[in-house]
């Protein structure tokens, strides 16, 4: 029952549509994993506490997407890790220490807060009980126990900075080492089949399974200290608000927060609010929306994404289809170009949009618009080409002008085909729009994304079922429209 209640409560943190004006709220982003969402929530609540309007766009995407969005100004701040910044964002640049990193970021117009306290890096963990019994506290201590069985994730086994490097750095003699799945590793630790596994140092499971994280006494793993990245053009009070978390969240605290969100399924906004109250004495108000409110909001977002992109696509695609059918010189180029656009994988197209249009509903709508073109253009073209030559000839022989022929004869005859194209576009569009959540466009994709992150099937269905229902409704709607607009003579 409690679980159901938690499922029915989700944070009202709507990605809003539209450009940022001077009085637009500050926008905090977060990546697609729980820890990032909690930190993003904290940042937004701290900004609000400082009297600033702020919103949180949760689960916007991966590092690249958030970084680009921050550089463009679509986002004002988001949480990241020092290791990610040096190894991924500014890879290949010589940045020996934090001061160098800070200076380099400043050149790019980006600020970095003091580290929040915890270091979320690769770590090794074992059962607390076993560790105590064997007297193991550091990775070096493992050398004295060469018979222990190790089970690592396949990624950790393969990476140079994973097991191979670690074994060399610590001269570990262990031979019983195998690669396996993360969940299996935890279970193996639990039933004693394994003594040790790799993990992230703030994983929720550490506390859940009662694991001890071994100290990296030779500092083999790079530091992934959590920080907020922010735009240097933020007002000073905003920066001061973000700095308030400096040094306040230790590893154990972050593990506990992750566990509350991920294992207990408490909404991230509540997890963040509780922490801010306990740690900083901040009473922040958190609005949580019920199932129906949430469904309504996602529906409105989804309909806007689909409706607007489809509407503009219709306005553009029908003339393109007519041009392709009537101007031989344009036929190849038009059909070719819309065909090629259609073959771009939707994820890639969404990512291409980011440097041009940033994140949110606008780039998602542009991508959906581009996808919607092909079925409509192709069906308009085919519908016009398919008109029997005697009919086309009769219209011309009557003395109708080309424009009148198109309007009075050719388009009505091609109507069923054009409408079928629009119907196809609408259905595809409704499905594809769920991917818009990946770049912060909201809609039914949002609960799907959150559901995948939390491994919560009910939440995934909360997006998938309405999306399917909407596709079905669109189908019925267009069947109705067909009955209204397709001339009776063509239906007999």
């Amino acid at each position: 029952m409690t679980r159901t209640v938690f499922l029915l409560v989700m944070v009202l943190g709507s990605p809003s549509v539209g450009a940022q004006g001077d009085d637009a709220p500050l926008v905090v982003g977060s990546k697609k994993f729980t820890e990032s969402v909690i930190l993003g929530e904290m940042a937004a609540q701290l900004l609000r506490e400082a009297g600033l309007a702020a919103e949180h766009r949760a689960e916007v995407g991966g590092t690249r997407v958030l970084w680009e969005a921050l550089r463009r100004g679509d986002l004002d701040a988001y949480p990241d890790y020092t290791g990610t910044i040096t190894q991924e964002i500014l890879a290949g640049e010589a940045l020996p220490d934090e001061a160098a990193l800070r200076a380099r970021l400043a050149e790019l117009g980006i600020g970095m807060t003091a580290p929040l306290g915890f270091n979320n890096t690769y770590a090794l963990g074992m059962q607390e009980e076993t560790a105590t019994r064997l007297g193991i506290a550091t990775i070096s201590d493992l050398r004295a126990h060469p018979d222990l069985a190790f089970g690592f994730t396949n990624e950790f086994m393969d990476r140079a900075d994973g097991w191979p490097g670690l074994q060399r750095a610590y001269a570990l003699p262990h031979a019983d080492v195998r690669g396996l799945d993360h969940d299996l590793a935890y279970r193996g630790l639990d039933d004693g089949a394994l003594a040790l596994t790799d993990l992230y140092s703030t994983d929720a499971e550490i506390a859940y399974y009662g694991l001890r994280v071994l100290r990296d006494d030779r500092a083999f793993f790079p530091a992934y200290r959590a920080v907020f990245l922010y735009r240097l053009d933020l007002p000073p009070e905003a920066i001061a608000a973000l700095e308030r978390l400096g040094g306040r969240i230790g590893e154990a605290a972050m593990q506990a927060l992750n566990a509350r969100a991920k294992l207990e399924r408490t909404p991230e906004a509540l997890v963040a609010a509780t922490f801010l109250r306990d740690a900083l004495g901040i009473e922040s108000e958190v609005t949580v929306a019920g199932f129906w409110e949430r469904l309504w909001q996602r529906t409105a977002e989804h309909l806007l994404l689909v409706g607007l992109s489809l509407f503009v696509a219709i306005l553009v695609a029908i003339p393109l289809g007519i041009a392709a059918a009537r101007v031989p010189r344009l036929e190849g180029p038009i059909l070719g170009i819309v065909g090629v656009i259609y073959t771009i994988p939707s994820l890639a197209l969404l990512v291409f949009m980011i440097p041009l249009l940033g994140i949110g509903a606008v780039p998602a709508m542009v991508a959906l618009f581009l996808y919607s073109l092909l079925p409509i253009v192709r069906n308009t073209h085919a519908g016009l080409q398919g008109i029997a030559p005697p009919l086309r000839e009769s219209a011309e022989a009557l003395g109708l002008s080309p424009g009148a022929r198109l309007r009075l004869v050719e388009l009505p005859l091609a109507g069923p085909s054009i409408l079928a194209g629009i119907k196809t576009s609408a259905v595809i569009n409704i499905g594809t729009a769920t991917l818009g959540a990946l770049i912060g466009a909201g809609g039914y994709g949002q609960p799907i994304l959150t559901g995948i992150r939390l491994d919560d099937t009910a939440l995934i269905l909360e997006g998938a079922v309405p999306a399917a229902a909407l596709a079905l409704a669109a189908q019925l709607l267009f069947d109705g429209i067909e009955r209204l607009v397709v001339p009776q003579g063509l239906r007999l």
């Binding site: 009557l398 001339p487 003579g489």
Partner: protein, 244 residues
Amino acid sequence: MIHLHRVTKSYGATQALRAVSLEVAAGQTTVLLGPSGCGKSTLLRLVAGLIVPDEGNIRVEGTLITPATAPALRQRMGYVIQEGGLFPHLTARENVILMARHLGWPDGRIAQRLADLADLTALPLDMLDRYPVQLSGGQRQRVALMRALFLDPAVLLLDEPLGALDPMIRSDLQDDLRAIIRRLGKTALLVTHDLSEAGFFGDTVVLLRDGAIVQQGSFRDLVERPAEPFVERFVQAQRSLVLE
């Protein structure tokens, strides 16, 4: 009325018409006769300005047909094809009045003309509200004729107008069509591949073969004084068809 001067038309390697010259007299019915593929429809399309000759020129009522003059000239010519060419998305009535509507004729004038033509073509008025698929083949051709006549054109271009009808209906419509053309005194250019139909309609019959005119004159001339063996064979073939 219609004047073709050395008109040539090719489709790729196919020569549909080779330097055809022809005079179509006003107020008369000229029949284009010949085996399938000899260029009859091509000639009619050229006169209607639907296609442009490669060489030579065509005048209708003294006006040279060019892409610029064709639209206005088309309103002076009514065009009927084998299956009628009726627009399936419009009712018979909408088909018939489409062009007049487009030209902005007042409703009263349209209604009057519609009534007159229904009377002339002997089409029951309640048929006008049907869609083409709801009409019989003969009714469809009557509607197509009404549409062609609506703007009271000087010329009628008829491409095998009875070709798709079964024999009984065909003979009824044949009688009606000839009566209408004569009553209205139209200049008609009618295509057929049927010898007896040519004889029935034609003041003048033009026999084509491979895009060229083989013989033209009265039907009697054609049958009694064939200009070359091909004409004789063509006439013989169709006669024996009827006798057997």
